[in-house]
Amino acid sequence: MNILENLKSSIKNVFANKMRALLTMLGIIIGIGSVIMIMSIGAGSQAAMNEQFESMGMGRINVSVAGNNRDISQNDLMTIKDYNALAENEDIKYIAATYSASAEIKLLDKTKTKRASLTGIYGDYQQITSPTLLYGRYIIDNDNDLAAKVAVINDTTAVNVFGAADESVIGRKISLPTYRGVQKYTVVGVLSNANAAIERQYSDQFPESVIMPIVTLQRLYGTSQVDQITVLANDSNNADSVATALTNRLDILHRTTEKYYAQNTMAMMEQINSVTSMITGFISAVAGISLVVGGIGVMNIMLVTVTERTREIGIRKSIGARRRDIRRQFMIEAVILTGVGGAIGLTLGWGGGNAIGNLIGVAPVVTVQSVLLAVLISCGIGIVFGVYPAGKAAKLDPIEALRYE
């Protein structure tokens, strides 16, 4: 009996009673469906996060002093000297030093101010962050040389401060009331705000953003400190070793041990990916338990089927069916039950993933691997839980089976 004919007659047998087939498959449907749904959401959010990381630049390394304020001495603080030393490293493509502070900024309504995050930059900050420049120019080396009182703001800030984000903003001044009196900086450039969509919704929570030469900002606060050095490695796969080289160099320069901390996007991404994979895997495994329950359901119904069809088995044996013919027939029926259940579960899981993804704003990803896995697992369950009933059918004695009422 060839496989195709076996399949045809088995499909007929399995679906002779549709309600029973559906109920039998339910465990498998729910199991495969929920695993696919969870895996697609997991893969979807992972992809979204990876995209975010990639937009930050793979192989990006942020170096800063480790520990909290109490542990940090004056000697440990980084300066432009450290920047210059690290810039000698040959495995890096871009390097920038930043000093960050926060201040108030006067808004369009001059009686009101809002929090602003000030970033003083030095070096290749533009290349590393690759922002979209809408109008004017970016901070240049010369601004640092002159400690020029210039600033680059984004379009959101431009609207909040000047009421417009266009060419006319260039050359106008922003005012920051500080402990040294109101400081004015000339706007030389306007960037596009990558997070504009979210910031518009929750504008109160997001500070305005002001970028200026590091020297200008350091002067304002009377410091020469650099609080972060950001590096882009030539080869993102080397990021780990480059990071180590950089922190070692800093330890040597400052005669410290492991005082500096390098955070690299690649490692962070891997870490986050492994966490999401673990969570997805764990929830899937829990959902997968219903597959075992489903398998037991299939076994139960197959045992009932074998008993109900004892006479049929007797007849088939009496005209020459061998044990393996009978076993194969029932194995195929079990695998059809679980396989079809798996296919239905796959479809429902796909749909469910899309529905939930829509709700939480994640585009679910159903990979070829997860589809193959679902198909393999559901057929595998049919085999595992079909073996016993099929074996029982195959071993029936022909005479006794024929006599069975």
């Binding site: 009496s318 005209i319 020459g320 069916a321």
Partner: protein
């Protein structure tokens, strides 16, 4: 050549401590192209004999040579092959698969024999023609009369060209008219050279055969040819 050689065959059924000796020392030879009836009272061991002849059951002891090979102690799958290729079995209760059409029922033994689809179609058609049911191919068993069902069963039994056709009370569930039709088919099959062993309770039916073997309490008490021209002769 003998199709069947049985020597000192014994069959004991064990039910707990109780032993039922259904066959107690049977010796029987059946030659090629014979048409034999087995008769005897209820419980005399006829069906037990037929099941062993049909390789559906093992004897407790003794030997059974089918076409000169000993099949009395073969393993399950070997017996299945023999049932498939050398034996056609017709039961009192037809034993057709209710979900298959008449044609598909007839095809089934060939499927297990590994016959190609085209050959299967042809041979099943021929077998249906032999039993006069070409107009009932697509009918399911419950859409056929008892006589027609038994004819389908005969077609199924014949389809792998067996050396031996066994029938345990083939007319037991049929009216006289249908029974006669079945006997007509058996006779013509026998004339074509098929060896037949048939169990029956009815003298009229047995009269169609050429030899009557009578069982009583698990032994053969008489073995006579049917007198030519005399219906109802024998035991």
């Amino acid at each position: 050549m003998n199709v069947i050689n049985i020597t000192n065959l014994i069959k004991i059924y064990k039910q707990g401590d109780l032993e039922v000796k259904a066959l107690s020392g049977i010796n029987l030879d059946i030659a090629n192209k014979e048409f034999t009836s087995i008769m005897g009272a209820s419980g005399s061991g006829k069906s037990t004999m037929m099941n062993i002849l049909g390789c559906l059951d093992h004897p407790t002891s003794g030997s059974y040579l089918l076409e000169e090979t000993d099949v009395s102690q073969l393993r399950d799958d070997k017996l299945a092959s023999i049932r498939n290729k050398k034996i056609g079995f017709v039961f009192q209760s037809f034993n057709l698969l209710p979900k298959l059409t008449a044609f598909e029922n007839v095809e089934l033994p060939m499927i297990y024999a590994g016959v190609s689809i085209s050959a299967r179609r042809r041979k099943a058609g021929e077998a249906m023609e032999k039993v006069g049911l070409t107009d009932r191919m697509k009918h399911r068993p419950n859409e056929l009369s008892g006589g027609q069902r038994q004819r389908v069963a005969i077609a199924r039994a014949l389809v792998n060209d067996p050396s031996l056709l066994l029938a345990d009370e083939p007319t037991g569930n049929l009216d006289t008219q249908s029974g006669e039709e079945i006997m007509t088919i058996f006779k013509s099959l026998n004339e074509d050279g098929v060896t037949i062993v048939m169990v029956t309770h009815e003298q009229d039916v047995a009269a169609h055969s050429k030899r009557i073997v009578t069982f009583k309490d698990g032994v053969i008490i008489s073995d006579k040819p049917v007198a030519l021209g005399i219906g109802g002769a024998g035991a």
